[in-house]
């Protein structure tokens, strides 16, 4: 592993005095700010779809941020570990907000919500990702970490699949060939690739070199 560079040391030093709860504060304020913008016409003349997209977009960004924590530690020695739980929980809350705007303000009926989940693959995928986040959110506390032991790690590796589903959900709902959804998938796959232990996959004599 690399030694922390001066920049990494500076970042680590600066973050040492930032408590993790500030992230919850920023997240909640951002969620409320977006809602207020939608309410007051600042997200354009069709605020329902705009708010739905804003919440979904933040959720995807948080997924990417959450997956970046480990590689940043491993390759750049930038230590964001203490923020990882907050990033994960905020991801869940933004997905919950995204889902709520879709179900309550956009689709507006339980029957149609159910019909969409069954009939529309991109909705199905989004729903699976959302449901997958629930056990992760419920076990994001010290008691669960102690209680589950090794299984906690295994359970939380679910997020790899959830992140891919989230990116595919975005690609699938876009019209035409759009770059942005593909960028998210690329970032997520790239961050997941950093977790593959390549040496294990290679023949032993290569690994020696």
């Amino acid at each position: 592993m690399a030694r922390p560079t001066a920049t990494a040391q500076r970042i680590n030093g600066a973050l040492r005095h930032v408590p993790a709860w500030t992230l919850y504060l920023i997240g909640a304020a951002w969620m409320a700010f977006l809602f207020w913008q939608a309410l007051t016409g600042r997200l354009g003349v069709e605020p329902i779809n705009a708010l739905e997209r804003e919440y979904g977009d933040v959720a995807l960004k948080l997924l990417v941020a959450g997956l970046a924590v480990t590689p940043l530690m491993k390759y750049a020695r930038i230590n964001l570990m203490k923020f990882r739980r907050a990033i994960g929980l905020l991801t869940f809350f933004f997905v919950l907000a995204h889902f709520s705007v879709w179900a309550l303000l956009d689709v507006q009926s339980l029957g149609r919500v159910w019909a969409d989940i069954l009939k529309r693959p991109y909705v199905t995928i989004g729903m699976i990702a959302f449901l997958g986040l629930i056990p992760l959110a419920l076990t994001s506390n010290n008691w669960s970490v102690r209680r589950l032991g090794r299984n906690w790690r295994r359970l939380h590796q679910l997020v790899y699949g959830i992140a891919i589903l989230g990116a595919v959900h975005y690609i699938w709902l876009a019209k035409g060939f759009q770059i942005e959804p593909l960028v998210y998938l690329g970032l997520i796959l790239g961050l997941l690739a950093t977790r593959i232990r390549w040496k294990r996959l290679l023949p032993a004599r290569w690994a020696e070199a």
């Binding site: 069709e46 693959p121 699938w172 035409g176 759009q178 770059i179």
Partner: protein
């Protein structure tokens, strides 16, 4: 505003429609040449060069040629038409257009007997259209109508809205408006009109034939594969606006006869 000339009973129905505001109509647009976001056209379309605009009319016509706009439509009756606009994405607006019946333009061009379809093409201005560089669609944007649809009195070539020249993001200086079809059929900033024998290629149909049909008539009973078309959201209702039922042919039942005997599930 005047009703549809020559169609008794339509004028009253049009009066009942409450148009969206100029701001709503000009800040929420799909015009992929200027970006895929709904507000991108309002931000970027100012670059569209509409000086010395010409429209080429070719194919099976008596008077083919490239006409300056004034020559194409000069002397033809401009009418007010307050139409519903239903986007395939399940939102809708009401727009007070000014325009000329397409039939008047086609009559002036002299449609020959072999013509069965009308093909349209949008301008391509690479320096002015940032969306062209991103390759979201195959440009130029192309659309088409069957000749009887094109000749229908509801079909207009719009040159303005709210008594102002057509805003660029809405398809200046001249665009098609076919109110009973999903909005993507109403091609913008037209530079070519071709009278042809075979059904022409159309942009969205080429890209995803299972999602966007050639006819693209508004139909609450035929869903888009990725979302329901049974209801729509009227733009302008704010964060808590309710969905409303989508009407067959977007409420323009008088066009139903054009599709007699067609299987609307298959030819959507």
């Amino acid at each position: 505003a005047l009703g549809v000339g020559g169609l008794a009973g339509r004028a009253g129905a049009q009066e009942a429609l409450e148009p969206n505001s100029f701001e709503e109509i000009t800040t929420y647009n799909n015009f992929y040449e200027f970006g895929t976001g709904k507000t991108d056209p309002a931000k970027n379309a100012e670059a569209l060069d509409i000086a010395d605009w010409t429209v080429t009319i070719d194919g099976l016509v008596d008077n083919p040629g490239t006409y300056p706009l004034a020559e194409l439509i000069g002397g033809l009756a401009v009418e007010d038409r307050i139409y519903r606009l239903r986007c395939v994405e399940a939102w809708s607006m009401v727009v007070p257009w000014q325009g000329i019946e397409l039939k008047d333009i086609l009559d002036r061009a002299g449609v020959q007997s072999g013509a069965r379809y009308v093909a349209f093409e949008t301008a391509v201005q690479p320096e002015n259209m940032p969306g062209l560089r991103r390759g979201v669609l195959d440009f130029p944007y192309v659309e088409g109508l069957r000749l009887d649809e094109a000749m229908h009195p509801l079909t207009i070539m719009a040159t303005g809205l709210y008594d102002r020249p057509m805003p660029k993001q809405n398809g200046a200086p001249i665009r098609l408006v076919v109110p009973w079809k999903y909005g993507f059929k109403s091609i913008k900033s037209i530079t070519r009109i071709s009278l042809v024998e075979q059904q022409p290629a159309t942009t969205w149909n080429d890209l995803a034939p299972s999602e966007y049909g050639f006819f693209a008539n508004v139909n609450p009973n035929v869903d888009h594969p990725r979302w329901s078309q049974a209801t729509e959201r009227r733009i302008g209702g704010g964060l808590f606006s309710s969905r409303q039922d989508t009407l067959m042919y977007n409420g323009y039942d008088e066009v139903a006869a054009l599709y007699d005997g067609m299987d609307l599930e298959a030819q959507f």
